[in-house]
Symmetry: C2
Subunit: 114 residues, 2 copies
């Protein structure tokens, strides 16, 4: 899968807008830094059409060492969750070759029969 | 959890850099649009320190309707996966009050004993 970097996008935006690369770079970097900063404060970021970033804290818990069966304290952990926004999902779905199949098939969430 | 929007960050970046709001807004919007575009093409985006966006395709599969036990075709689905970059994870971990406990406790991934 080809990888696109920050630099690729900065170059492209500079070309499209006629802004100086260094200005675009600074804006993009500040934007990404602010996302990190806000998540660090425990805030949620919602970018309309794009998606939502939020921090989930996995609770600490006592688990069991499967070999010794001793209780093991598993500490809390911070995890970033990204949820795709509506426009992005639509845009991805539009590219999908399986659209027709999708429309015809009813989705059913399958649980184990109890 | 307080929510921060695109507008909040655009205002902040404009204040910090002295750039016009409309210019910052255009750059940020183009940046987010490019991410959507590239994911749509099936490309992976890697922003150093920040994280990686990539598309995963959930394979189509045949499941079972739990009530009727009929086979049900579940179509492929495109899903965006975000993986946090090193610096962001470090920055989040630095804020963590449980750092000391974390360092002392060995993490063990617990599986069900077979």
């Amino acid at each position: 899968m080809p990888t696109v970097t920050k630099k690729d996008l900065i170059d492209r935006i500079a070309d499209q807008t006629g802004q100086k690369r260094v200005v675009v770079k600074s804006t993009v970097q500040k934007f990404l830094d602010e996302v990190i900063l806000e998540l660090g404060k425990g805030n949620r970021l919602e970018f309309r059409d794009f998606g939502v970033f939020e921090l989930r804290e996995r609770q600490p818990r006592v688990a069991q060492n499967p070999k010794t069966l001793e209780p093991v304290e598993v500490p809390a952990k911070k995890v970033v969750k990204f949820k795709v926004g509506r426009r992005m999902q639509q845009s991805l779905d539009d590219d999908e070759s399986t659209d027709d199949a999708k429309a015809q098939v009813e989705r059913i969430r399958v649980r184990r029969p109890s």
